[in-house]
Point group: C2
Chain length 214, copies 2
DNA sequence: TCAAAAGTGTTAAGTTTACACCCATGA
DNA sequence: TCATGGGTGTAAACTTAACACTTTTGA
């Protein structure tokens, strides 16, 4: 028979680095921690893992609870397990990074949770080791966006190439040449042009694209 | 006051995918699981996290216990947390991949633990989700070796370029052109030639190299 | 003297970067 | 008609890939 009972057990939480893109800026969803320790400090969206759910299920449940969203793109980033990372009790946290289309989340829910989007480049101090989590997630996202079509997860279904380029620029933190960007991204064949034109940004109007095999 | 006490707690283990390179083959250290569930099945080297140690400390402790080695190169790979991954109890496992020089480990210790090196390409079924762990670790190692000097961790201090190339080939699973390989690896400037010659493999002898800033 | 592994350069193909002007439109 | 963002091609630099012969030496 199994007998692990001489070993210690731990609280296990899931923290989500939820990225959104708005006003040409990469943002992270945070909220004010509603309980001690660290009550009132800024925190990533997280919660404890339940007995009957996998880590990924937990992340999905928490995400749904805070944003109303289902079926969201997420990837596990790392486990954070320093002994004193949570000054209250020993908690081991599994971190996911999550990409959502800014337009999709349920504003009522985020309000209820005191959740707010903060520019990634202007993050204040977050509780515990959450700043490290964001930093790591951002680095990872910067890699992933280069060779997988994840950028689409941060945009509405239809978008212009200029929007997409701005997204890349804000994730990578550097300017990109317009012609080179367009050639490169179109060559990858994840995009298809629609016959719609977006006139929000220019008199001339820009072709709207969408990701195929999203 | 902190009060997490309404949340469940979990056993947390660390599993190590320990890679070694011998006979021109990439190998993984496994052992026979000494307790139920899965007693006698092949398992990665692992153990439970203790209360007062970080995840990385746990990995180091376990590594020392099985191989006698300290200060070993390791990186966290992922957390595995499916509800039923361990058929005995719910256990969340944090996986590290570890690179050691095959010549360095303590053979007495590995014997005591029934540990054995197995060719990565011929792994039989391991217990639980351990095959997945190895697969993921191998993929990761394949990436890391391309742009960081981690290959050195799998080799003795002094080695020939042919040995190094064979190591790359066995990690990447494909042949590499000798001239291109040598040029590329030397350009990276992690290696320095010694004035020693290795005559094990050829009459002529091959220059021994070492990694700088190991 | 020969078998076996070590060592060594060049060319072509492909990829990445840098760079500047015309287009279409609504106000 | 003009201001604004949309759209387009080419050449140079660099990187990667393909390829074959000579060297050294111990048996």
């Amino acid at each position: 028979m199994t007998n692990y009972s001489s070993y210690p057990q731990f609280f296990v939480s899931v923290d989500c680095v939820i990225f959104g893109f708005q006003d040409n800026t990469l943002k992270v969803l945070t909220h004010q921690r509603p309980y001690d320790p660290g009550r009132g400090e800024l925190s990533l969206i997280g919660g404890f893992v339940h007995r009957d759910e996998s880590l990924e299920d937990a992340a999905n449940r928490i995400l749904k609870e805070f944003t109303g969203l289902d079926n969201v793109y997420m990837r596990q980033l790392a486990a954070f397990g320093e002994v004193e990372r949570d000054p209250g009790e020993r908690v081991i946290s599994i971190v996911y990074y999550v990409l959502i289309n800014y337009g999709d989340y349920d504003e009522e829910l985020t309000k209820q949770h005191n959740a707010n989007w903060i520019n990634v480049d202007e993050l204040p101090q977050l509780c515990f080791d959450h700043n490290k989590m964001v930093e790591k997630a951002r680095k990872e996202l910067g890699e992933d966006i280069k060779d997988t079509p994840v950028a689409g997860k941060l945009l509405p279904r239809y978008f212009t190439l200029t929007q997409l380029q701005t997204l890349f620029e804000s994730i990578q933190g550097q300017q990109i040449d317009k012609r080179n960007f367009r050639r490169a991204i179109l060559e990858k064949n994840y995009l298809s042009a629609t016959d719609m034109i977006d006139k929000q940004m220019s008199r001339r109007g820009a072709t709207l694209y969408e990701f195929t095999n999203n």
